[in-house]
Structures are given as C-alpha cells and as structure tokens.
C-alpha cells in the first residue's frame, strides 16, 4: 500500500490529463478549427463561421462526452468481470453481452427484410438500433443471470456466457448469409463502433445508465476486493456471494449493454484498461482501481478518437480499429517492462 498522498497526486494528474484530452478532442477534427475559435465556441462567444459553432456543439462535444462515458463504462465493466472471474482475459463482453447486442442489431438491420421482403431501411434509425441492441444484450444477460442463480461455480458461468455468445454469433452469421449487400455493410459498419452522432437526449440516457453502473460498482467495492482472495475467503469475510455476484453482473450488463447500444461494440478498452491501471498504480485495491479505470478509460478512448478522426483529413477511421491498434502495443510494452503482471 502506498501512502495516500501519492494517489491524490496521481488522481490530480489524471484529472488534468482528462481535461486536456477533452479540449484536444473537441478542437481537432477533419475541419480545422483554431484553438481560440474552439474556446470561443464552447463559451458561447460569436465566431464568424456559424457552421463551426454548429460542428462543435452538435457533433464534437457530444462525441467527446460519448467517448468519456463509453471509455469509463467499458473499462469499469472490464475490471468487474476480471475480478469476478479472477481471469485476466475476461472483459465486458465475456457474458455474451456484446453478442446479444450484435444479435439485436443484426435482427433489426438484416432480419426484418428477410420477412418483409422489401427495403426496411427506414426502420433502422439510431434510436431503433439502440433499442434493438439493448434488448439483445439484456436478453442474453437475463439468461446468464438465470443461470447464475442456479450455479455456484463462477467458472461454469464464464463458460456458459461464452456458449451464449457462440449461439448468438451463429444466428448472426445465418442472417448475414441471407441478407443483401447494403444491409450487410450497414451491419458490419455497426460492428466497427462509432462515437459520433449521438443526440443530447441519447447522451442523457447513456449518462444515466453509466451513473447507475458506477453506483453499483462503488457499492460492490468490498466484495470485489474479497473476490480477489477467492470465493471461500470472501464468504468468510461475511460477503453474500450470490447477491454481490448478481449485482456485479447487473452493473456490467447496464454498462456494456448501454454503451454497445449507442456506440456499437467497442473492442479492447474493457480488456486492456484495467491491466494498464493495475500496472501503473501498482495496486489491486478496488477503492483505487474503480476511480482510476474510469479516468484511464475516458482518456484512452478520447485519445483513440482523436487519432481516428485523422485531424485535418477529410477521411476518418473506424474507432474499433484504432482502440486495438494503439492500445495493444502499449499493453504489451507495459507487461514486458514490468516482467510480471499485477493481478
């Protein structure tokens, strides 16, 4: 355990970094907007070109908040899963949440046209897509929870989650096989993830879901620390195993499900950020880890988004490619340098 002072300093530095990344993210994009103009637009001062203000307020700021919330939520749900299953390879999607969401999206985009036989493109809007994928992820989640109440062994639950994932993936491939090119492309693009284009209302819904998830996680910090020492040990500490496991699964479902619904299945953050955080903070105490992964997750996704936007270029890259391309080498380097994993 380190003295408290160092942590306060570290969190201070993280906070400054987060604000810096946020400003950077808002000021950089395909259209060059000078930093002064960005600040002017943010604080409501007049700038000559009206569409710049529009871009900043209706596109870049919502996008930056989506990145902050998604990064934080995914990193936290990854931490929860890694701790619950005591498995460093676990991530927010091990319980089949992402495959459930994919199934919902696939049925909406590709399935409906199979039954109606006409272009149902008009039915696919951001709202319906979000609804469909949340329904999909919650369907799988409820199945998992149903199983969790019957099963004592957490590892068996992990396998069952993976099986659910396989089943939904199989249904998605059948749908993909029978759909036409445009719909297939729409679905594939959804799987690339996208932080842009959330309305303020959608951001509000996402924000509430993230706050609920964070609230439950804070409430579960004691059991989480207990889990690290093994289930029997946790029980001896007076932790109610089934109840806390149930809560942790619910929190993960709300976090990963809502983010996947609005931003698509964003890879890597959930798996890697908890490792990054443990290595950098050199601790396994969830009192420190929970707030730290939230901030690291946000910073990571903001930075990835800056790269994906290719500032100054008219082209953009899909966010999912960037998270892994940039993130994976960093984690490899960290683990190589430390020579051992803190878990």
């Amino acid at each position: 355990m380190r003295p408290k002072g160092t942590y306060t300093l570290r969190f201070g530095i993280l906070m400054v970094a987060l604000c810096g990344c946020l400003l950077l993210n808002i000021s950089l994009g395909s259209v060059s907007i000078s930093f002064t103009d960005t600040l002017k637009a943010i604080f409501g001062a007049e700038i000559q070109n009206k569409s710049l203000t529009y871009i900043i307020w209706n596109y870049r700021i919502p996008k930056a908040f989506t990145a902050i919330m998604s990064g934080a939520g995914l990193a936290l749900s990854g931490l929860l899963m890694q701790t619950l299953f005591r498995n460093p390879l676990a991530g927010p999607f091990v319980l089949g949440i992402s495959s459930g969401a994919s199934l919902g999206a696939a049925i909406l985009i590709m399935g409906l046209s199979l039954f109606s036989g006409i272009l149902s493109a008009s039915m696919v809007t951001d709202v319906s897509l979000a609804l469909a994928s949340s329904m999909g992820s919650f369907l799988v989640l409820f199945l998992v929870i149903g199983v969790a109440t019957k099963i004592k062994d957490t590892m068996a639950l992990l396998i069952i989650g993976l099986m659910f994932g396989s089943i939904t993936a199989a249904v998605v491939s059948v749908l993909s096989y029978f759909t036409n090119a445009e719909k297939l492309q729409q679905y594939v693009y959804w799987t690339f993830g996208s932080l842009g284009d959330l309305s303020w209302n959608q951001l509000g819904i996402l924000g509430i879901a993230i706050l609920v998830g964070i609230g439950i996680s804070i409430f579960s910090i004691k059991p989480l620390n207990g889990y690290l020492l093994g289930e029997h040990y946790a029980q001896s500490l007076g932790i109610h195993l089934k109840k806390s496991r149930f809560l942790i699964i619910i929190a993960t479902g709300i976090l990963a499900g809502s983010i996947t619904a609005f931003a698509g299945p964003i890879a890597f953050i959930g798996l890697a950020v908890p490792h990054l955080t443990r290595q950098i903070f050199n601790t396994t105490d969830h009192k420190i880890l929970v707030p730290a992964v939230l901030m690291y997750g946000s910073i990571t996704l903001l930075l990835c988004d800056i790269v994906a936007q290719l500032p100054g270029q008219a082209e953009v890259l899909p966010i999912n490619a960037i998270t892994s391309l940039i993130g994976a080498p960093v984690v490899i380097w960290l683990l190589m340098r430390k020579r051992k994993m803190i878990f």
Binding site: V31, A121, S122, F178, N180, S194
Partner: protein, 391 residues
Amino acid sequence: MNIKTKLRLKFSKSFFYIVLFLCFFGCKTNKKESFPVSHSKTGKIEYAKGFTIEKSGPDITLVKITSPWPNAKSAYTYALVPKDKLPAVTLDRNAYDAIIGTPVESVVVTSTTHIPALEGLGILDKLVGFPETKYISSKAARNRIEEGQIKELGSNETLNTEMVIALQPELVVGFSINAQNKAYNTLERSRIPVVYNGDWTEETPLGKAEWIKFFAPFFNKEKEAENLFSEIVLNYNNAKEIAAQAPTSPTVISGAMYKDVWYLPGGKSWAAQFIKDANAHYMWAETQESGSLSLSWESVLQKGKNAEYWIAPSQFTSYKGLGNASEHYKQFDAFKNRNIFTYASKKGESGGLLYYELAPQRPDWVLQDLIHIFHPNLLLDYDPHFFKPLE
C-alpha cells in the same frame, strides 16, 4: 448516382465464386476447315474499355473481355460460332475460355444491369433464370417472372449451382469481383459456358452503356445493338451540348451519411461524370477516386453547406426521413431550400430500384434528368425517368 451502391450489390453477389474455365460447348472435332488467325475488327467499340469484338475468319467471332473485374491480370476470350457451322469448324480448345454456338436460345444473367440490354435487343424471351428476381424492375421481365418463364435461381444473390445445372441454359452471363469463383467453376465442369460481363468496371457513362454490344454477337443482334447504342450516344451528346449553353453552372453535393461518415461519389466516378456533363460543378470533382469517397461529415458540411443542389441522398425519399435520420442534414442550404433530388422513389413492383437496373444502359436519360434539375429553363416539358424531388 451512387455507383458504390451498385458495386456493393455486385460485390455481395460474388462472395462464393471462383474462376475457372474450360468449357466446351458442342465442339466436335470432325475437322473440315480451319482458319488462319487473321483478325478483323467488327463494329468498333468506341467508349467501353473492357471488351473487344473481332472476326476471325468468316464464321468465328471472338469476344475478348479485358476487364472482367478491376485490375484483372488476364483477359478472357470467347469464340462464338454459328450452331450450323459448329460441326465444320475446328478450334483449339485451349486457346479459348469458352466456345459458344450462336444464336444462344436460353441464357441466365446475374445482374439487373443485364436486363435492359436483353430487353433492348428484343431477346428477353431467351432469359430463363436469374438469382434474386425480386430486384428486377422491368415490367416485361416481371411479367415473365410471374408466368414462371424466368426461374428464381437462388437467394442472397448468389447463383444456386444445382438449379442452374438443372435448367441447362446455353449460356450464363456472370460477373465476379476477382478471379475466385466456385459456383462458375462447377457450371463450367458441367459444360455450361460462363462468360464474364465487366460493365460495372467501366468508368464513363457511354462506356457502361456500350456493353449492350457485348450481348449482341451471342444472339446475332449486332445491328440492333449498333442502332440502339448510336441513338444513346446521339441523345447523350445532344443533351451535353444543350447543357453547355446554360449561363450558370450550379454547385452540387451527393450521397448521405451512415453514422457520422458521409459516402459520396469520387471525382473520377461514373456519377461525377454525369454532373460534369450536365454543366454543374460537383464539389468533389477534383478528387481522383473512381469509386466512392467516405468522408467525415464535418468536412462535407464545411465544403458543401452552400451547395445549390444535392442529388442522390442514398435511400432517402423524403425531407422528413432525412431530417429524422440526422439533424445535421438540416444544416445544408440544399435541405433548407428544398433542392434535393433522389432516384430512390422510382421502384419496381417488388422493391428493386429502377435506377440501378436501367441507368447504366440509359446514360442519356440520366443526363437529361440532371439537366432538367440543374437548368430548369433548358428542357421544358421534360418528364424525368429516374430523379424526383424529395417529398
């Protein structure tokens, strides 16, 4: 206007194919005469870059496909011999990708863009099968589908090999995105000749339309194809001249967003060529892509916010639908001034878009439509074929 969408349709069709080829159709070897290889050009191909037609001796027509798909490494050569001459002609089997007896009496085609050529040449009655018939818009073809004379040959836009073999057409006109083609391979082995149509690789409006001449020799319809195409060229060039007289050349944007990425035709694409010939300024005319561009929407807003016209906003047919899909669309002047035109409202009976099927074959109509939109005073009393204002 979106070439990409069409290409996409094509791309998906070709998930399962491979290339192949050696099929010999009724080529017997009771040799009577063989011809020196002296090739003479017949009916010149002026605009299309992807195929040539040559005569080799009095009876043999060689159709050579140089661009079956983009960046193809090798060409495909098909030898066409009149059926009554087949017994008398000896050909080196290995020199050709297929030897086909003409006139072909039953054919399977694989893209809706092939339908107008058959209809134009008056040989729609030779069409016996098609994969995903629901995408066909042509009324005449739809009637034949209803009557069961054009068989459904598969779902998800890939040929069902078994059904094609059972149907035994004399010719399959396929297309592929690369030299990988399983289904065609099996057809080849079962002695059904497959020829590749590369119309979709052409980058000019008249180049695409000229592929009607590719179909002609298989059915002995060279004259008809020549006449039809000359008329299209004449119409197109006349329209282009009329457009050139317009005093102004309005600015134009195209395409639409998916999520926050905007897909629009590249500056060297088929779609961009139409805008240029209609004497309008496409805002991305200087880009070098012959396919489509995918740009961040904010860069499109910056460049295209003040554009006067917006054509082909993907599948959208109404301002309401467009506004519901994204608030960002409302920032554009073309949206505010109600100057958006779409081809998506012209659908066939079963939901296929007429534009995808017919536009490549009738570039003159596409051009006239656009001139009618961009220069309202030039073509009076004109009834557009494809483009309608958004509702």
